[in-house]
Symmetry: C2
Subunit: 218 residues, 2 copies
Amino acid sequence: MDIARIALNRHTCKAYDPARKIPAAQVEQLKTLLRFSPSSINSQPWHFIIAASDEGKARIAKAAQQGPYAANGTKILNASHVVVFCARTTMDDTHLASLLAQEDADGRYPTPESKAAQSKGRSFYTGLHRYDYKDTQHWMEKQVYLALGTLLLGAAALEIDATPIEGFDPRILNEELGLREQGLTSVVIAALGYRSADDFNAKLPKSRFPMERVISEL
Amino acid sequence: MDIARIALNRHTCKAYDPARKIPAAQVEQLKTLLRFSPSSINSQPWHFIIAASDEGKARIAKAAQQGPYAANGTKILNASHVVVFCARTTMDDTHLASLLAQEDADGRYPTPESKAAQSKGRSFYTGLHRYDYKDTQHWMEKQVYLALGTLLLGAAALEIDATPIEGFDPRILNEELGLREQGLTSVVIAALGYRSADDFNAKLPKSRFPMERVISEL
């Protein structure tokens, strides 16, 4: 598969055709990509909220109607589906215990020793971020971006247009969706669907720094 | 394309066959995936160091030979290729100017007004992170994880095994590769190649939280 060609052909969609909807089978593929995204120590420190209804998209767009964010509100309203990527606000022992129980139920621990070793290794990494780096929230949000990267390339492979959106007010969105009460915070949004004739970015060449500036070899 | 199937079939490789090397044409695809990864405001706040030589991999492995990191050192030494994902340590005006010049050279600005508008929008976002959120470093590192997500799914599509590695000492790696002097810091590593018979993880089922726990619909 020429996955590099897919990466070269994708672009950030700037205007969606509100009449075109992503077929259900492809929505399932997008959900699988999100759910099975890798994360450090399999921590899955996330939740994904998907809006397909006009009402759901309107609620999300409330956080992107102010000043410089307004153009993003329009994308959110016209896209077929919109994903709000949320991070957990804690990486607590309850979460770690339920992670280990899920892996056990899924058959990853042939012996009690292998389960104990995984738990110990995971404690090392969560402790590193909690006590040494003191960056647990950022660490979790990085995993969310890993899922965003997975979704954007996956959508392109399915010939679905997408727009990663940082330009929104997370306080408004957290309040609108009651995210804090659920131990979550909104991190980034992805709009998904099919571009309209107004998508000027589809006609512009992609731009990146030259290979030699961003890659060196050892 | 059944990209979800590819995501379901990938796994974190725990042991590499040192004799198997990624063909040159596929290495080029991996480099294209990295170079063309999306990033917020196209900021490309990164540099990727790729080691294919034994000497290069040994230099990287120096940062993963201590205590709990030792198993990662072995993966780094036995993988075909190893990518060190670096973030910039500043998002300064020189970088922003060279970004705008690159986009101009690549033909993204049909009018001076469109170029000025892009520069203004970009200043808004860099200012937001510099002055309001005060999280520029974390913001840049999130983009690096977006590139990591792109690479991991892309490698799976090319049937290349991969291992995302946070378990290394970035101070040792920064010093070994002289990264600070280049305005860079190491963030995460990916080993790439082909699994050996010792890769116990290839035989274990994947585990993730159930769909209803990680995805909700609006």
